[in-house]
């Protein structure tokens, strides 16, 4: 075919030349950047700066891990979900029930919680992921509601509305006791958040993660290039569920209590709102969205104890109308104003949704 009229722009193959700029840009996209150290530095500093807030800090890390795991499904794979609490709660309850029956080693309990949530994700994903749009949204919601109702009824196992009590958690590695001041809990949750973040970061830069983004951008094209779309989505769904399960199990271990609200619609809804505030489909959306949501909730509740949720709604409306892509989206736009041209390509996961 070498005699065909189609121009060969370069006489030498691209393999024999220095890498073109476009290739280099993609090839180094996954490299760590300086700003990525920021959340971890802040979190470490927070331990010393706010010793009275370590328990709260641990809860924030758990919420961020939960949001991060949810973003994998919502932001990257484009699955519309209002039922992530199903996985969070499964992890929390399974961990809690085992612990109440005498299994007290915390790390294996986390793994157990992850496995339980992954199993729920696998089974429900089989049905949920065969649907699209509103049906899918309702199915995710229904799975969570059904599990919540089951936990409510099975009082013998879960403690029902009174919550699951009697958990015993052994010291981590047999050394670090989960103390009242949250010293251990803070570090424990931070380390697990870091590991979870590492996992999600690795995933979204991997070919698998890019194919999830491809599915979100155009499912039809993804099928047309021979991608097993359902299997990819199901894999992502199960991984996300497992991470949500870890977050739930962490909550159970650090509070030594599991209540029905771990499976509640409010939890599923809040995590989506947090992501929208921070930026859906952006690795750091969870890191910004969760604290902002929590601060707002605190402030609004003080200013207007009855109708604080209304003000959350107003804030959300403003974000959706004027700052699509959330806070991270705003930052990206700002960065593009300062340094225009093509930066958008090199920041990963910065692609807008639909």
């Amino acid at each position: 075919m070498s005699d065909t009229p189609l121009p060969s722009v370069a006489t030498t193959s691209v393999r024999d030349r220095p890498l073109p700029e476009a290739v280099r840009r993609l090839a180094r996209r996954h490299h760590p950047r300086v700003y990525e150290a920021l959340p971890w530095l802040l979190a470490t500093a927070g331990y010393f700066a706010f010793p009275d807030y370590r328990q709260l800090g641990a809860q924030v890390f758990i919420a961020i891990l939960f949001a991060l795991a949810t973003d994998l499904i919502l932001g990257y794979a484009g699955v519309i979900t209002l039922g992530q609490a199903a996985f969070f709660g499964s992890g929390a309850y399974f961990c809690g029930i085992l612990s109440a029956h005498g299994w007290s080693e915390p790390l294996s309990l986390l793994i157990a919680g992850a496995a339980a949530a992954a199993a729920v994700g696998f089974l429900s994903g089989f049905v949920v992921l065969r649907t699209t749009g509103l049906t899918q949204l309702m199915l995710t919601l229904i799975v969570a509601v059904m599990l919540g109702e089951a936990a409510n009824k099975a009082t013998g196992l879960t403690g029902g509305a009174n919550g699951l009590q009697g958990m015993e958690i052994a010291p981590i590695f047999g050394v670090f006791e989960l103390d009242l001041y949250g010293r251990t809990a803070y570090c424990y949750c931070l380390v697990l958040l870091f590991l979870g973040w590492l996992a999600v970061r690795t995933l979204i830069y991997s070919p698998f993660g890019r194919s999830l983004t491809g599915i979100r951008e155009s499912e039809a094209r993804m099928r047309a290039i021979g991608s097993p779309v359902f299997r990819r989505r199901l894999t992502a769904y199960v991984i996300s569920a497992a991470l949500c399960g870890v977050a739930g199990a962490l909550l159970a271990e650090t509070t030594q209590l599991v209540a029905l609200d771990t499976l509640s619609f409010e939890r599923s809804g809040a995590v989506v709102i947090m992501l929208i505030i921070g930026g859906v489909g952006r690795l750091y959306g969870a890191f910004l969205g969760v604290p902002i949501y929590m601060i707002l909730q605190d402030r609004f509740a003080q200013a207007d104890p009855t109708y604080w949720y209304f003000w959350i709604g107003v804030f959300l409306l403003l974000i959706v109308l004027f700052a699509r892509g959330g806070i991270i989206g705003l930052v990206e736009r700002g960065a593009r104003l300062i340094r225009p041209r093509r930066r958008s390509v090199s920041t990963p996961g910065s692609e807008n949704i639909g």
């Binding site: 722009v9 830069y205 290039i225 021979g226 097993p228 692609e351």
Partner: protein, 263 residues
């Protein structure tokens, strides 16, 4: 599956690149595809024409597996793929483009092609190693873009790309799959003639052993690109022949060319 051209009477022995037998598809009471027996030879340059609503795109969707047929069989290189899902048919060398641009609009031009090449090379589902370190995928993608004169736009997001360039990228993504059978659904539709030249050039320079089926409205293009033409009317094949035969046929003029004059 040797591409050596056998004499016509030997055709029964030869495996067609693509074949449908008694293909049917209905949407409710509406039969969109009716008993279509279609054959695409190895290395074919074949056009599928027909008035709007004749079922051309439905035919493509049936062949690729995006839709399931109500009845009939689909054979790819002689083996039955009717029961295979879409991705398996792609793995066997069937690629398509879309009439309406169906690209990853939020991704760069280069990455659009990378995704296709990654799937072809089997790295599309890898969980750990970063996509950016799959050097072979990146370089193959870039080389393909250079061949199609898209390299200067490699880093641009697709949604920032002019429409004509997007049409070209549609073909590039399909070529990234290195198909044996390529289905082009109105590749130059809506592209101003000043920009359609490169698209036609690309189609003309496709490998000789690739079987090409092109859906097209533009008769000039059909004459230029196709050696065989099939006319689809109301979901069924009305006529098949050389472009000259088709153009000379009174029924085709009535049904198809006539309709174009009315519009």
């Amino acid at each position: 599956m040797v591409a050596e051209p056998p004499p016509p009477d030997n055709a029964a022995k030869q495996d067609f690149a693509l074949e449908t037998r008694g293909l049917e598809r209905s949407f409710g009471a509406l039969a969109v595809t009716r008993n279509v027996d279609f054959r695409l030879e190895q290395g074919a340059r074949h056009a599928l024409i027909g008035p709007n609503g004749a079922g051309k795109t439905t035919f493509i969707n049936l062949v690729t597996g995006a839709l399931k047929p109500s009845a009939g069989r689909i054979l790819l290189g002689g083996s039955d793929v009717t029961a295979l899902p879409q991705e398996q048919r792609v793995k066997r060398g069937l690629a398509r483009t879309f009439q309406i641009n169906t690209l990853y609009r939020g991704l760069s031009v280069l990455e659009n092609v990378c995704l296709a090449i990654g799937e072809r090379l089997g790295s599309g589902g890898r969980l750990f190693r970063p996509a950016g370190s799959h050097r072979e995928v990146l370089l193959s993608a870039y080389a393909l873009l250079e061949r199609l004169r898209l390299a200067d736009d490699a880093s641009r997001l697709v949604r920032e790309l002019p429409y004509g360039r997007q049409r070209l990228l549609e073909i590039a993504v399909a070529l990234g799959l290195e198909p044996k059978v390529l289905l082009l659904d109105e590749p130059a539709a809506g592209v101003p003639s000043a920009e359609s030249g490169i698209i036609i050039e690309v189609i003309e320079s496709l490998p000789a052993d690739l079987a090409l089926l092109i859906i097209e409205h533009d008769m000039d293009l059909v004459f230029r690109l196709a050696r065989r033409v099939t006319v689809l009317v109301q979901g069924t094949i009305m006529l098949e022949g050389t472009p000259r035969e088709i153009a000379g046929d009174a029924r085709v003029r009535d049904v198809y060319l006539g309709e174009r004059e009315h519009r």
